[in-house]
Amino acid sequence: MKPGDELPPLEIPITRTLVVAGAIASRDYQDVHHDAELARQKGSPDIFMNILTTNGLVGSYITDHFGPRAVLRKVAIRLGAPNYPGDTMVLTGTIEDVAEDVADDTATVRVIGTNSIGRHVTGTVTVAFPAPAARRTGARQAPVTLPAGEAG
């Protein structure tokens, strides 16, 4: 794994069920995320995905790629074009930085989610791979190869 490497893209169908289930699972009862009529009254063509669901999807895109050993350290996202039901979002990721530390190795990944309107989300995720106990106790070895990614 090195800067510039790309993660396989992930297509996520934006179903009405996903938008509503994500909103309710994140305890977000804003009507624009579950009531199409009220959403339209507020000037939106339909309900749209809430930011917590996008956050969750971005996080799981990364952890699915790197496998269960990977631990999310930081997820920072910015929203753009809304995710409306019937659309498809394609998440892509590019390795931005790889760092080795005494305790952990970390990777920083730039994530972009695009739908038919434009960019739904741009973000940066920092994920850590806890180092083997031997290294933390001081027994330095040859540079550790980061996991290639079980899902990727």
Binding site: G22, R27, N55, T63, P68
Partner: protein
């Protein structure tokens, strides 16, 4: 055009026009004063971190990561904010929330920024949350932006930063940004064109602002003239004064534009040349009758029509049948 001008009183009892774009500085000063004020103090999660809510989240996201299930399960880190949400019934009024955040949102509502959309979420995860953890949280209003114009509308970005704790341990930080905005209104008509005001006609437009229709009069020969000019076309004298029009007039001529459409107007409409009782003529609109009922010789009476906050124009109301 949306009229978002609202009068509100501030703490000192002063009244100001928050939505008045001619003076956004006052509002911005008041918004800035919220920076650094806490928005939540000692908030308490409605539920402890728990396996059912974790499972519901994973089902919704389609996340099958084994780290989130079983006896050693942790909560998905991206659920951080979920544990702080008020849900359908909201948080208890006596716990956590300060007045500052509500006051800030109310101030923005009053300024016409009634819509809200979340734009940014930045989370750092310091310690994993596990079922049974009781979450507490504190939040501060980190910043309020200057007035920004976005595709959605014009408004202000409000950024809050929340610390989420379990006991004394920091579990994570959560920076959240919303845009409070006045919707741009997709179907809104463009504003009517502004008059071109220069030093030769400034007095005319100042009169209109005061709802007075002023006609120039040459102080050399006494000839009335309109539109305003720097000198008399009859005698060449540069000196003038004004008389106020009585407002009586007749339609001298008119045209009805059908095509091409101009964005601020909906064709067809009548553009009339009005002959004022004083003898000069001016171009205006006839109101009070459909475009196809405007007639030459029709008796009309002056009135002033406000088209938006900044534009008042003299128009003429039809008074009856053509003479």
């Amino acid at each position: 055009m949306v009229n978002n001008k609202q009068e509100v009183s501030d703490d000192l009892g002063n009244v100001g026009n928050l939505g008045d774009t001619s003076n956004p500085g006052d509002l911005e000063k008041r918004l800035k004063a919220f920076e650094g004020r806490p928005s939540v103090v000692a908030g308490v999660g409605k539920d402890p971190v728990n396996a059912p809510m974790i499972r519901h989240w994973c089902e919704a996201m389609g996340d099958t990561n084994p780290a989130y299930a079983g006896p050693d399960a942790i909560a998905p880190p991206t659920m951080l904010q979920v544990w702080t949400m008020g849900g359908l019934s909201g948080h208890r009024a006596d716990i956590g929330r300060t007045e500052a955040y509500d006051e800030l949102l109310a101030l923005l509502d009053e300024a016409g920024c009634t819509s809200v959309v979340a734009t940014d979420c930045e989370q750092e995860y310091v310690r994993a949350l596990r079922p049974g953890d009781e979450v507490t949280f504190d939040a501060v209003i980190e910043s309020v932006s200057e007035r920004k114009t976005t595709k959605l509308g014009t408004g202000y970005f409000v950024t809050t930063r929340m610390d989420v704790r379990v006991g004394d341990d920091l579990a994570g930080t959560h920076r959240f940004r919303i845009l409070k905005y006045a919707p741009a209104g997709r179907r809104e008509k463009p504003p009517r064109p502004r008059p071109v005001v220069n030093r030769d006609n400034a007095g005319f437009w100042e009169g209109v602002r005061q709802h007075r229709l002023l006609i120039q009069r040459c102080t050399g020969c006494g000839t009335l003239r309109h539109p305003w000019l720097p000198g008399c076309t009859t005698c060449g004298c540069p000196d003038w004064d004004t008389i106020e029009a009585s407002g009586e007039g007749t339609v001298y001529s008119y045209v009805v534009p059908h095509h091409p459409p101009f964005p601020a107007f909906e064709p067809p409409y009548a553009v009339a040349l009005i002959e004022l009782a004083e003898g000069v003529r001016m171009i205006s609109n006839v109101v009070g009758v459909p475009y196809d009922k405007v007639r030459i010789g029709q008796s009309v009476l002056l009135e002033f029509q406000a088209y938006d906050d900044d534009l008042v124009l003299p128009v003429f109301r039809a008074r009856g049948e053509a003479a």
